[in-house]
């Protein structure tokens, strides 16, 4: 294809996106669009899978049967989200194995929030409330993103995430209204998860790459800082409601802007965790690698068995 032809296709492509048409896997797309989507969707899928681990850490120790079942179901939902998203990503011409390989080698990223440890039961509440809350704010705009399979996956994901977020908030509420020990446990979890949750919305706009292009492709509709402000404005009243205190002395409602002003984020910590030196980065990745490697013989067996069955069928046909 000549440069001119490509330019023409790109023009049509851009126009389709501008018209809010969906791009489907078989449609022509610029290579950069494909690559960016593989990166973002897989990163999102990896986050679901790695995100199973901090919460999974409390399944065997959940404090009641009801909570145990709900948590188990929630973590399973995340596995399901991973599955949708890997499938969406595979439509762009990359295999699941390649995607895992990128995760396991450290080439692909996943959400840094999952590199913090879950050390009390209240962390399960805090993750549902804050982490899923921030995720929803990131994700709702993606329900109308330009790439069809991603947008459709996100519709399903967001529906379940909202449910998870309510569930997390309910855990926190129950603790906050419980015994003094329980309330302290809830406050402590909020203290530890608040700042990392704010960081989840991404680096501040001046540091953020990709934004303009992503806006055009509807991979992004608001800037990181706008999303962060939205998260804070939404969450602070919820904390007030259950009597917990946001661990930010500079937090204050600004009558003029109608938004909460807030304190400075420790971006050094952010980059430490992003660069692989957070509290659990090594463990999380190792856990995924171990699961994959220890499962190799199982996947091989399934493949070998399927082949044998296929051969049997063929033999049968020939015999007929």
């Amino acid at each position: 294809m000549s440069d001119k032809e490509v330019k023409d296709l790109e023009k049509i492509f851009d126009q389709r996106i501008a018209n809010d048409e969906k791009i489907e896997p078989r449609d022509w797309m610029p290579e950069k669009y494909r690559k960016t989507h593989i990166r973002q969707i897989s990163q999102h899928a990896h986050s679901e899978i790695v995100g199973m681990l901090p919460e999974g850490n409390w399944i065997t120790r959940a404090p009641s049967l009801r909570r145990k079942v709900a948590l188990l179901a929630k973590v399973q939902d995340e596995a399901g989200h991973g599955l949708y998203l890997y499938s969406a990503c595979e439509t762009l011409g990359i295999s699941r194995e390649e995607l895992y390989e990128q995760l396991h080698s450290g080439k692909a990223k996943y959400s840094s929030i999952f590199n913090y440890p879950t050390i009390t039961w209240a962390d399960i509440g805090a993750i549902g409330w804050l982490v899923d809350g921030a995720a929803i704010i990131n994700q709702v705009p993606l329900c109308s993103t330009s790439f069809g399979p991603y947008a459709r996956a996100m519709v399903r994901v967001c529906k379940e995430e909202s449910f998870h977020q309510r569930q997390g908030f309910e855990i926190m509420m129950k603790l906050a209204k419980g015994t003094p020990e329980q309330k302290a446990m809830a406050q402590d979890a909020l203290n530890r998860w608040w700042w990392p949750s704010l960081m989840m919305l991404g680096p501040t706009d001046s540091e953020s790459v990709h934004t303009e292009q992503s806006m055009k492709w509807k991979l992004k509709r608001k800037t990181n800082d706008e999303l962060r402000q939205q998260f804070i404005d939404q969450t602070v009243p919820q904390a007030d409601l259950i009597g917990l205190t946001i661990p930010d002395q500079d937090l204050k409602f600004n009558e003029e802007t109608g938004h909460y002003d807030f304190g400075e984020i420790d971006w050094d910590e952010f980059w430490q965790v992003v660069k692989g030196e957070g509290p659990c980065n090594k463990e999380r990745l190792q856990t995924r690698v171990d699961a994959w490697e220890n499962g190799a013989w199982v996947r091989d067996a399934a493949m070998a068995y399927a082949e044998k069955q296929e051969n049997k069928k063929d033999d049968l046909k020939e015999a007929v």
Binding site: I49, M52, L53, G56, I59, T60, R61, A62, P63, S64, L65, R66, R67, K68, V69, L72, A73, V75, Q76, A79, G80, G82, L83, Y86, W121, I171, K174, L175, G178, T179, E181, Q182, T287, D290, A291, N294, G295, A296, W297, V298, R299, D300, A301, A302, M303, A304, Y305, A306, K308
Partner: protein, 249 residues
């Protein structure tokens, strides 16, 4: 009444401990699909557990809850069979433990449908569809592993060799169980045992696996004499309830 309560706990404890073992796996399965499937089974088992404990709790005074029964007993008071305590050494053990239990569970619930105790029959009615799915899932995997690669064959045969001696206890009624069998409330284990042996033998033959010769079967779980694994299972399971007693979550 005491017999009935013990019997319900015996059934429920199997589900609880096996569900607990399966839920250790969540996030660590050999593939996303098996991870999801094993979690599904765990969810089914824990759901049934809750129905049983709620029923057992209703037989006591009003203050007793399902969580008291799940979390507040000592090791010697749990009545599950030893099979379900076996650790998740590798996926071959997980699937073999599951299959050996699932075939039993399906037959057991089918019989429990005609229990004279209506509540138990009702729980069985809900559980049987789930058990049908479980046995087809684990059975399929036994075939894949047994008749897959040389390595998978050896691994799942190793699991069968280790686990087979735990199956005898499934059919060995406790004292209270015997009395309830007489009364038409509990499942007559003698009736389902030959069907069990036939079914598992058939599937193992298909999977090219060999049942080890076994003269002595292990038991004790129904009397609360568990394996050394049980204490560690309970240490995690009960951690929150023991550390923060009398709170609501």
């Amino acid at each position: 009444m005491k017999n009935l309560k013990n019997y319900i706990l015996q059934i429920a404890d199997n589900n609880l401990i096996l569900g607990q073992r399966l839920s250790e796996l969540c996030g660590h399965g050999p593939s996303l699909e098996t991870d999801i499937a094993c979690t599904n089974i765990a969810l089914d088992l824990l759901g049934q557990t809750r129905s049983y404990y709620q029923y057992a709790a209703s037989l006591e005074n009003d203050d007793v809850t399902e969580d008291d029964l799940a979390y507040q007993r000592t090791e010697r008071e749990y009545k599950n069979v030893l099979l379900v305590e076996y650790p998740n050494k590798h996926f071959g053990y997980i699937i073999m433990r599951q299959f050996l239990f699932d075939v039993f569970h399906q037959l057991f619930l089918t019989e429990l449908l005609s229990s004279k105790d209506e509540q138990l029959a009702a729980i069985a009615r809900k559980g049987i569809k789930e058990a049908n799915y479980h046995v087809s899932f684990s059975g399929d995997w036994i075939k894949r592993l047994g008749d897959g690669t040389q390595e998978s064959h050896e691994k799942v045969q190793e699991a069968l060799d280790a686990l087979w001696s735990y199956t005898g206890e499934l059919f060995d009624p406790s004292e209270y169980e015997k009395q309830l069998i007489e009364e038409g409330i509990a499942v007559n284990l003698e009736k389902i045992k030959p069907i069990y042996l036939e079914r598992v033998s058939k599937l193992f033959a298909e999977a090219t696996l060999t049942i080890p010769e076994t003269k002595w079967f292990k038991k004790g779980g129904k009397q609360g004499v568990h394996t050394e694994h049980m204490g560690y299972i309970l240490a995690d399971l009960q951690y929150m309830q023991r550390t923060y007693p009398n709170m609501s979550w």
